[in-house]
């Protein structure tokens, strides 16, 4: 392990959640006997909490090193030693992964705690409680492996692991067809992304073996990559046969993987459906951690993207468009979790936009703040959902501020943070992104990108405040007895909310404010911390510009919020009018542009059809029939039809015939 500092506590961070999951699994699988509730809680939350503590110590150990060489490693064993290439099971802790493990284990721990109260109130299955925590731990383990992995292959293991766990948590929780469908959808869309990941890894390996490096470890990649950075490849004819920069090709492949995992256009379709899972899962997996893995991947490979401007531009544009698109869709949703889901997609778009503009630090910073306030928003939403007995339609809520004090306050904190109210956490990260986009003149059309991002910021403020007002203000749209039974959620629910709220409000100022707004020298400790591992594109910034941009962004956000206030509090009648006014447009938005239906038409149906019609009846029966008989007289077909059934017609002689044709073909090729 090329001389980097060893740190032999590292493997305990993922090992603890794994151990918990395994114990749960054994109890359920072999012993067939759920643990007592308290033991389950102690095991799961304890494991994750300890993981967080260890992560913290690891962070301290890291900060003791000089800023330039902050790398800790621990190799466990050789995963694949022999053969064409080697991969270690080894962990790598640098500022980037340090940030990630703190988010994963920290937010993860809070959500574990929250789940105790949530899952109690939400008693659907008797044994479900422990199974749920088993899955949570398993997920935490996979996510930690993903971010700690020191090579692409181990990262892919975690990458698939989190996908599997989200599949389990969406689908295996309540057994009904819809969840099953959503779970499989999530899994299969993710596989499309994974295909990109794999191919990217192949290309990288294929290119590097020529320069004699058979490893996929990040550090070796980083050192070896410059050798192939400018290599060109000739695409095969059926792909246009153009000359491409290899780095761009690889970058695009990895971005396909990232887009699948992080729900970017066009692969975002699975995330809104993933809301079918229980709310803590939505908070942990589909807001705070797993969906950000794509951003992490891009930043981890930043050395590659720095050499691939084409790929970076694509990322920036896809990110921006996703941000805008999802924000627009979010306006019209009435399901509280759907709104948050689309907002997540939109915010992820922001992160990719930043990464595409070379501002990887900004991307990771927004990833962090987003983990805080989006987890907070989801958990608060869950608390609301509990209070109103699993009602998720905001048209059937309203006026809840009287009942849910804590929930409302924390929710407000989250809304302010995501809307970018000054000095809230979201404010700093969003402004850093806007700034970097504004400066990124190396990206084609960065001006347009900036305006899109700005407009999206306004939309974000609008739909978040709409959500807030619809839930907590206006007169209640619930039946009497519903109102009667509303009460604030248990403490295990509210405490995590409060902690996250504090982070969402103050986290920005404490950890990573831009120097422009805090009169302290390098106050942006976060940015300085992660900077060394990222190939960020640097620009000279004068404070005044930063101020101007921030002012504009804040103004836009304020307008959005004000509009929401006007429409949903002052003049509640207007939205209906507008709805009538806009008519078609609105329905289009409401129908989420009918993307899902489109996919069903374009992707799923054709696959089944291809398999069913084309291959199964078409190729097997029609095509080959015609191929064999086509030329000859039509009369023969009648006879041939039953003699040469090519389909899996169950007629063995048809099989023999196909064999014979194949044989003659091979002989023809080999012998003549």
């Amino acid at each position: 392990m090329n001389g980097a500092n060893e740190y032999d506590l590292l493997h305990w961070i993922p090992a603890l959640p794994l151990a918990a999951a395994v114990i749960h699994g054994l109890c359920l699988g072999l012993w067939r006997q759920p643990l007592p509730r308290i033991a389950t809680i102690a095991l799961s939350c304890g494991a994750t909490g300890l993981a967080f503590v260890l992560s913290f110590f690891a962070l301290l150990a890291l900060t003791e090193l000089p800023a330039g060489s902050r790398v800790l490693q621990e190799g466990l064993f050789t995963w694949i030693g022999a053969g064409p290439f080697s991969a270690e099971v080894a962990f790598l802790l640098d500022p980037l992964s340090a940030v990630m493990i703190l988010i994963v284990s920290g937010v993860g721990f809070l959500i574990h705690v929250y789940s105790i109260g949530y899952m109690d109130a939400d008693a659907r299955e008797d044994k479900g409680f422990q199974r749920f925590f088993a899955y949570l731990n398993l997920f935490t383990f996979s996510m930690l492996v993903l971010v700690l992995a020191d090579n692409l292959l181990l990262m892919f293991l975690g990458w698939e692991g989190v996908g599997l766990c989200s599949y389990l948590l969406i689908g295996f929780w309540y057994s009904d067809e819809w969840n099953a469908y959503c779970g499989s959808k999530a899994f299969i869309v993710n596989r499309i992304g994974d295909f990109g990941f794999l191919v990217g890894m192949f290309l990288l390996f294929w290119a590097l073996q020529d320069v004699g490096s058979g490893s996929v470890a990040f550090l070796e990649l980083q050192t070896a990559f410059p050798l192939i950075a400018d290599q060109m490849v000739q695409l095969p004819g059926w792909l246009g046969g153009a000359q491409w920069k290899l780095a761009t090709l690889i970058g695009l492949c990895f971005f396909l993987g990232a887009a699948g995992k992080s729900a970017q256009l066009p692969l975002y379709v699975w995330l809104p459906d993933a809301m079918a899972g229980p709310t803590p899962v939505s908070a942990l997996i589909h807001a705070a951690t797993m969906v950000t893995a794509g951003v992490y991947l891009i930043c981890r490979m930043s050395f590659l993207y720095a050499a691939a401007p084409g790929a970076s531009a694509v990322i920036a544009w896809v990110g921006a468009l996703t941000a805008l698109f999802a924000a627009v869709v979010a306006i019209a949703q009435t399901d509280i979790k759907k709104v948050l889901a689309y907002s997540t997609v939109s915010q992820l778009g922001y992160m990719f936009l930043a990464a595409g503009c070379g501002a990887y630090g900004a991307a990771i910073w927004h990833l962090t703040t987003h983990a805080w306030f989006k987890a907070l928003l989801f958990l608060a939403a869950g608390s609301v959902i509990l209070a109103v007995h699993h009602e998720q339609d905001i048209d059937k809520m309203g006026g809840l501020h009287r009942f849910l004090v804590w929930t409302r306050l924390t929710f407000l904190a989250g809304v302010l943070a995501i809307a970018g109210a000054p000095y809230f956490s979201g404010f700093f990260s969003k402004d850093e992104i806007l700034l970097s986009v504004h400066l990124a003149d190396h990206v084609p059309g960065h001006a347009a990108l900036y305006w899109i991002a700005l407009f999206t910021a306004g939309l974000t403020a609008f739909y978040m405040f709409r959500l807030y007002f619809r839930i907590f203000f206006g007169e209640s749209r619930m039946t009497r007895d519903q109102q009667g039974s509303i009460q604030e959620s248990p403490r295990t629910v509210t405490i995590p909310l409060i902690v996250l709220a504090i982070l969402a409000v103050a986290g920005g100022v404490v950890f990573g404010p831009s120097e422009a707004f805090i009169p302290i020298e390098d106050a942006n400790s976060f940015g300085n911390f992660v900077a060394p591992v990222l190939a960020t594109v640097h620009h000279e910034v004068e404070r005044s510009l930063e101020w101007q941009l921030a002012a504009v962004a804040t103004l836009v956000a304020f307008l959005g919020a004000a509009l929401a206030y006007g429409l949903y509090v002052v003049r509640p009648a207007y939205p209906a009018k507008i709805r009538r006014l806009l008519g078609g447009v609105f329905r289009l938005v409401e129908g989420r542009f009918w993307i899902d239906e489109l996919y069903d038409r374009i992707l799923v149906q054709p696959l089944v059809k291809l398999s069913d019609r084309v291959l199964y009846r078409g190729l097997d029966a029609r095509l080959l029939d015609d191929m064999v008989i086509g030329g000859t007289a039509r009369g023969i077909r009648a006879a041939a039809a039953d003699m040469l059934k090519f389909a899996q017609s169950g007629l063995v002689q048809g099989y023999l015939f196909l064999m014979l044709v194949g044989t003659l073909a091979i002989i023809g090729y080999l012998a003549f």
Binding site: G161, L164, I188, F195, F202, V652, M659, Y669
Partner: protein
């Protein structure tokens, strides 16, 4: 006076043992079941004898592998060559056969077709495979392939009372003997062109431009492509797999593939080395098999049939490294074969464990809500499906990885990408069982309440191997599978 050839019995010891075991089982069948002895008692004798025989063969193979091969049988005109390569294959085949014969006991009793002949035939077929994988002369190749196939024809129709079983046997028989005829004609042509049946001699005299020789090569390739069920010689596979008793399907779906692929590896490496054009043909077959196998598997509604099409797709995956012809490719084939054996056997083992009172569990509905009342079985099935689909952490992914990198090193990038793409598609149908088991409401099935001990052993073994091959394929110093495959490939290179 003709000089008496020197015989190294150790070289044919495995075959001898298997034959003796087979006859022992037959006699046991005669003298036990004719008497009043209960079938169950007889059953334990059958399983005991055949299991012990196979176990001994596995041990011999391991011993032989460690001592790096045995002297050839009849050195002046060698028919068999037992190097590490063949010993690895023998161990794999015998191991798979052992697992399948452990599975058979309970299953056959549930189906009321518990006869000793089953085990005898299984042993004989295994003997054929052992011959096949160690053959270095087309004469012994032919003997091996027939001794492997003929018992399988009978086994496919072992459930005599069922029309489906008869039909499966008939189709397998007709298609199989047709393929044999083609194979034989190929041998004849090659013999005519080179005047030799021994691999080394053929390799010395084979002329890639002699169209007769190449026609022979093509026909031989076809014969093997049939055995490994590669498109377009695949169509028998779904029918035979579905119709045959599940225990038989489990046995042949893995062992035949291993034996045929290993023999093909040896022939390509030691006899047909000079025919480069073969690489292209193999690559084409691989692509076709991956595409058609995976796409056809999507629309199946019978689990056995789905697994049959998946077996065709897996054959395609295995043909990818075969077409490279590099030592890495050969090692990858061997490793993936091991992976495939445990994953597939495991899946069939679950189906067998669910068979009850002559009622096979081979439709997707039979798995609805299984997780509710058989959590262990369901979890195992998920593991095997996930491994077949090639999700990281399982053997399947590790195997595919070996293939990917072998292919990439041989600049077969397009094939590798196609393989990755098709295995994405494959997830779609491999997931159907987990969905059925965990997300469909449970229905009442005549499932047996408990596993019998042997089935549990087999399931546990398969599950453990799937995990170990996926996570520690080369880490345990007593089980460095990847090293073994590379040593075997090396033995193949040094004739």
């Amino acid at each position: 006076m003709i000089p008496v050839p020197t015989l190294h019995i150790v070289a044919i010891l495995p075959v001898l043992l298997l034959a003796v075991g087979a006859f022992a089982v037959l006699l046991a069948e005669l003298f036990l079941s004719s008497r009043g002895t209960g079938k169950s008692g007889a059953g334990s004798v059958f399983v005991g004898v055949s299991g012990a025989t196979l176990l001994v063969v596995v041990v011999i193979a391991a011993q032989g592998f460690i001592s790096a091969g045995a002297p050839a049988f009849n050195p002046d005109h060698p028919m068999l060559h037992l190097d590490r390569f063949s010993y690895f294959a023998i161990g794999l085949v015998a191991g798979a056969a052992l697992l399948s014969c452990l599975l058979a006991n309970g299953y056959l009793q549930e189906l009321r077709i518990h006869h000793g002949e089953f085990y005898a035939l299984l042993l004989l077929s295994t003997a054929g495979m052992v011959l096949l994988v160690s053959a270095v002369d087309f004469l012994s190749v032919f003997l091996g392939i027939e001794l492997m196939s003929i018992p399988l024809y009978v086994l496919a129709g072992f459930d005599r009372g069922k029309p489906r079983s008869n039909e499966s046997a008939l189709k397998y028989f007709i298609a199989g003997s047709f393929a044999t005829a083609l194979l034989l004609y190929g041998m004849a042509l090659v013999y005519g062109a080179t005047g030799a049946t021994h691999f080394a001699a053929i390799a010395a005299r084979l002329d890639p431009d002699d169209s007769m020789a190449m026609a022979g090569v093509a026909l031989i390739l076809v014969g093997f492509a049939f055995k490994v069920s590669s498109v377009p010689f695949h169509q028998w596979t779904p029918d035979v797999y579905e119709g045959a008793p599940t225990a038989v399907t489990a046995f042949m779906s893995v062992t035949v593939k291993v034996a045929a692929f290993v023999a093909l590896l040896r022939i390509l490496a030691q006899a047909f080395g000079s025919a480069e054009a073969l690489g292209t043909v193999l690559a084409l077959l691989a692509a076709l098999s991956m595409l058609i196998g995976n796409l056809m598997a999507i629309i199946q509604d019978n689990v056995k049939r789905m697994l049959a099409w998946s077996a065709i797709a897996q054959a395609g995956y295995l043909l990818v490294p075969l077409s490279t012809g590099t030592p890495e490719g050969q090692a990858a084939v061997l490793f993936y074969l091991a992976v495939y054996v445990f994953g597939n056997l495991g899946a069939f083992a679950v189906m067998i464990a669910l068979t009850h009172r002559g009622q096979e569990a081979d439709r997707f509905e039979d798995f609805d809500g299984l997780a509710k009342f058989r959590p262990g079985l369901a979890a195992a099935m998920v593991l095997f499906m996930v491994s077949l689909a090639g999700i990281p952490g399982t053997a399947g992914f590790m195997g595919k990885l070996q293939i990917f990198f072998a292919a990439i090193r041989a600049d077969q990038l397009p094939l590798a990408i196609l393989m990755a793409l098709t295995s994405v598609v494959s997830v779609y149908y491999y997931l159907r069982l987990p969905i059925a088991m965990y997300m469909r409401p449970a229905r009442e099935h005549p499932h047996r309440k408990e596993l019998d001990f042997l089935e549990f052993t087999v399931l546990a073994t398969c599950a453990i191997f799937v995990l170990v091959l996926g996570l520690l394929p080369n880490t345990l110093d007593w089980l460095p599978v990847i090293d073994w495959t590379h040593q075997s490939a090396a033995a193949l290179a040094s004739k």
